[in-house]
Symmetry: C2
C-alpha cells in the first residue's frame, strides 16, 4: 500500500513517519511506498523498508494537489496546517493553508475520474469549539470557533464529511487535544508554557509559567497523537456512520496537577525550575480554550489517550530523552 503524509516536516508528521518506518505496515497491509510533502521538502527517513518520495508542495497552489495524489496513495494523512497564532496573524495565509488546501485535495480526489477512493485522515483540532462551554464538552456540542484557525479546521471537517457522504473518498477527521510535551525549543505560541514547564525543568533549565495553577486544559502526548492517526487509518468506514469527525480522548488536567506530576516523576528540584511570571494577555487567551471533554464516541471506537499526566511526562522522557532526566 501507498501512504501520503502532507505536513510531513512538522512535529507530528515526523513522528508518524518514524512510526510507519518502524511498523512497515498500516491498517494490516504492508507499506510499499510512502510520499512525504510539506511546504519545504521533508527529510526522507533513514533505513525505510519501502520506497520514500519527498516533495516541496503548496497544496493550495494550482495542480499541486493533483500531483500529490498522482500515484494514488491508498491512505492520506492530511496534517498540513499553519498554527493558531500564525492563522490569526496572517489572515490570508491561514485560509489558504488550512481551508483551501484541504478543498483542493478533496477536489483533486473527486476529479481523479478512475474510481480512486482513498482513506483520508484529517488532523482537526479542539479549536473548532469556542467558549462558553459546558463542564465537559460532549460529542454533540456545536462548532463555534473563536479563532480563524478553528474556523478553518471546522470548514475542513464539513467538507470532508460531505465529500465522504457523496462517496468520493473515505474520510475521518480527528480533533487532537493540545499535544504535550512538545519536543524542541520553546516557541512563542500562547500554549507553549504547557510543554515548557515540563520540558525545560527535565532538561535542567528554567521555565516560565505565565498563568495560575488552576488553569485547566485538555492534553495528550505526541505518542498518543500518532496512535490516534494510525487507529483512524485502520477504522472501517461502517463503524463511523455519517458523523466522521471525532473529538479524540485526552486528559483534563490543571497546571497545578501538571506540576504535581512533574514532582512525582522528576523530584522537587525540577519543580523549583518553574518561575511564576503572570502574563495577563496569555491568561486571557487561555481562558477561552476548552478545559474538558466527554469524548465517548472516540473511546467506544477504540481511541486511547493517557489517563494521568505522569504517563505523559514519562512518554516524553522515553521518546525524547532516551529515558534519562537531565
Amino acid at each position: 500500500m501507498h501512504t501520503l503524509i502532507t505536513g510531513a516536516a512538522g512535529m507530528i508528521g515526523r513522528k508518524l513517519t518514524a512510526r510507519l518506518v518502524r511498523d512497515g505496515a498500516l491498517a494490516g497491509r504492508a507499506i510499499e511506498r510512502m510520499t512525504l510533502t510539506d511546504i519545504v521538502g521533508p527529510e526522507a527517513p533513514a533505513r525505510a523498508p519501502f520506497a520514500v518520495a519527498t516533495a516541496a508542495s503548496d497544496l493550495a497552489a494550482a495542480d499541486a494537489a493533483a500531483e500529490a495524489i498522482a500515484h494514488r496513495p491508498d491512505v492520506i494523512f492530511h496534517l498540513a496546517a499553519v498554527v493558531s497564532g500564525e492563522a490569526e496573524a496572517d489572515f490570508d495565509k491561514g485560509y489558504r493553508v488550512n481551508s483551501d488546501s484541504i478543498r483542493e485535495l478533496l477536489e483533486a480526489i473527486r476529479l481523479a475520474g478512475d474510481g480512486y477512493r482513498p482513506k483520508l485522515v484529517f488532523a482537526s483540532s479542539i479549536a473548532v469549539f469556542g467558549a462558553p462551554f459546558p463542564d465537559a464538552i460532549g460529542d454533540e456540542f456545536f462548532l463555534t470557533p473563536l479563532t480563524s484557525y478553528g474556523t478553518q479546521k471546522a470548514i475542513g471537517e464539513l467538507l470532508l464529511a460531505d465529500y465522504t457522504r457523496r462517496g468520493f473518498l473515505d474520510g475521518i477527521g480527528i480533533r487532537l487535544p493540545s499535544i504535550v510535551v512538545r519536543p524542541g525549543e520553546p516557541n512563542r505560541a500562547a500554549s507553549g508554557f504547557f510543554s515548557s514547564i515540563i520540558r525545560e525543568p527535565l532538561a535542567g533549565q528554567e521555565a516560565v509559567l505565565p498563568v495560575s495553577e488552576d488553569v485547566r486544559h485538555w492534553f495528550a502526548s505526541p505518542r498518543a497523537a500518532v496512535e490516534f492517526l494510525i487507529h483512524a487509518a485502520s477504522l472501517a468506514r461502517e463503524r463511523l456512520g455519517a458523523r466522521i469527525n471525532l473529538t479524540m480522548p485526552g486528559l483534563s488536567c490543571t497546571v497545578g496537577e501538571q506540576i504535581a506530576a512533574l514532582a512525582r516523576v522528576a523530584g522537587a528540584d525540577a519543580v523549583r525550575r518553574i518561575r511564576r511570571e503572570p502574563d495577563a494577555a496569555i491568561a486571557k487567551i487561555v481562558a477561552g480554550w476548552p478545559q474538558n471533554f466527554d469524548a465517548r464516541r472516540a473511546a467506544a471506537l477504540g481511541f486511547r489517550a493517557e489517563t494521568s499526566f505522569d504517563e505523559i511526562i514519562r512518554a516524553h522522557i522515553e521518546d525524547e530523552l532516551g529515558g534519562r532526566i537531565g
Copy 2:
C-alpha cells in the same frame, strides 16, 4: 441608507423588496437607495420611494462581489443560493453559488480598505443539522449536515462568524425553517408537498400527498421569513455576542395537523382535494429532516414566528389570494 439584496429575484427576495418599498425604512433609518442583484437581473419594484438599481451578477465570478459593494451598502441581505435539490444534483454549482459567493462577498468587504463595515444578514437554513436528532434541537446542537446544501450553508455561517469576530463587518446568520405556503406553481423539490397540499386545495385544485400524516417538520410563513430578515438587520451587534448564527423560531407540526388546519380554515371540501399517493423515495428523504427545535435564543432576541398552522394558512390567503379562497 443603502441596502443590497442578493438573490433578489427569488421568492423571499421579492417579498423582502416589496416590504422595504412599503416601509421606506430599515433599522430606524430611511432607505435612500436599494441595489438588487441576482444571477438574472431582478425586476425593479414599481413606485419605490427611493432609487433602485438592478444588476445581473454571479457573485462567485471575478470582481462581481467588489462591484456589488462598490457603492458601500449599509445593510446587505445575502439570499443568493441554489436550493437543496440542485446543490445535490450539481456538486460544482452548489459549492460555487452557496459557499464561494459568500466568501467572495466577505473578501470584497474585508479588502474594501476604507473602513467599510456593513451589516450582513445571511439566509442560512435548518439543513445545517442532520439526523439523528434530539426531540427538540437546541441552540447548542452541532452542525452535521447530510446534504451538500447544508454543508455549504454551514461553511457560510462559519466564515461569517470569523469575519465578524475579526471586525471586518457585522454579520448575522439566520437559519430559516421550511417556508410554507410557497406561492406559485408546484415544483419538484422533495419538500414541495408541504406547500402544495395547502396551496392547491385553496385554489380549487387537486394536490398529491406522498408521505404519511405523522410526518413532522418545522415551518414558518414567507411573511415570517421577511420579518426575521428585517428584525435581524435591526439587531444591535452587542445583543448577539460571538455566536452570531441563530436558529429561527418556527412551528413544529405534522402533516395531519396541517390538514386539520386546512379543514378549519377552508372546510372539508378543500381537504378532499388532497390525494394520497405514497412515494417511498420522498418519505426517505423527509425522514432525515429536522422535526422540532427549541429556538430560545432567537425568541429571547425578539424573533417571532406563527404559533399555529391556521395562522400560516391565513397569511397565505391574505398575502397571495387577496383574502379569498378559490
